[in-house]
């Protein structure tokens, strides 16, 4: 694993996040949310600091991080693309839309394009089933997406 260097100011902020929850270990998940908001992802170094602040084993923190799909250990793309794979979207063809994103960007689920621009993931139900199939790019939601529209959506961010 490549070591990354965290800026001191960010480390201070991270410690403040922990302190906000009184360094309580039962607040670990809330703290991880805060940390991911801060860094965009949860690299090993961040988990080590959290473990230290909360006086828990880093293996425990890692065990929790890898349990929940919301937490990521690799940075997301500049424009994170998520394809909803809830049932409603699935029966309306979300899998084909996802395949098209993977094909055009040449990445697998959870991966980021080499230029760091796009990452592709699937998620479970954004609750916009009326618009199925649904794709989100960042916070923007695209509804009733067809395979033909995939390239257009990508073009918007090129």
């Amino acid at each position: 694993m490549t070591k990354i260097k965290l800026a001191d100011s960010k480390v201070t902020e991270l410690k403040q996040v922990c302190a906000k929850f009184d360094n309580q270990k039962n607040e670990l998940i809330n703290i991880l949310h805060g940390a991911q908001e801060l860094f965009g992802y949860l690299p090993a170094e961040v988990q080590e600091i959290i473990a230290q602040q909360l006086s828990v084993d880093v293996a425990h923190v890692y065990g929790v991080v890898t349990f929940y799909s919301f937490f990521s250990m690799s940075p997301k793309g500049e424009h994170p693309i998520s394809v909803c794979m809830g049932t409603a979207c699935y029966v309306r063809g979300a899998e084909k839309v996802l395949d098209e994103f993977k094909r055009i960007l040449n990445v697998k689920i959870g991966e980021t394009t080499p230029d760091g621009k796009f990452s592709v993931s699937s998620l479970r139900c954004v609750g916009a089933c009326g618009l199925a199939p649904v794709v989100t790019v960042g916070s923007k939601v695209y509804g009733r997406v067809t395979i033909e529209e995939v390239q257009q959506i990508i073009n918007e961010y090129q």
């Binding site: 954004v126 609750g127 916009a128 089933c129 009326g130 618009l131 649904v134 939601v141 509804g143």
Partner: protein, 132 residues
């Protein structure tokens, strides 16, 4: 906000809030008291409810129509988001689906100003504990 200390406080507060609302509803100066609710749940927002709401607010302001525009939760018509409810004083509320800019414009022109209904009304077909 002052805290309610007793159940009686709450009940008094409810009564005054209700009469305020009914005053609003029973007024006969429609220019001033048109009520519009925009369904602003996740699916509505994803379909553009925010844009619709700000468009309606701007348009009503531009035309100097005093209306109360509020957000509300999911009306349940996911198939037709964004959804809005328009209520002219003394009239039953009318729900419209698929209200993007153009339809919002049409609803303002025809329904709110001209008092005509616009195609694409979503019929309210349920009861609630209060009207059952």
């Amino acid at each position: 906000m002052a805290k309610v200390k007793t159940l009686e406080d709450l009940k008094r507060m409810r009564e005054s809030l209700q009469s305020e609302l009914s005053l609003r509803e029973n007024s006969d100066t429609p220019e001033k008291l048109v009520q519009i609710k925009v369904s602003m749940a996740t699916c509505g927002i994803a379909s553009g409810a925010k844009e619709t709401m700000s468009f309606i607010m701007e348009e009503l302001y531009r035309r100097k129509i005093d209306a109360v525009v509020t957000q509300t939760g999911c009306m349940g018509y996911c198939h037709s988001e964004p959804t809005i409810e328009v209520q002219l004083p003394g009239a039953d509320p009318v729900v419209y689906g698929n209200v993007k800019k153009e339809r919002a414009q049409l609803i303002i022109d025809q329904h709110i100003i001209a008092g005509k209904l616009v195609d694409g009304i979503i019929p309210g077909i349920y009861s609630t504990p209060d009207n059952k």
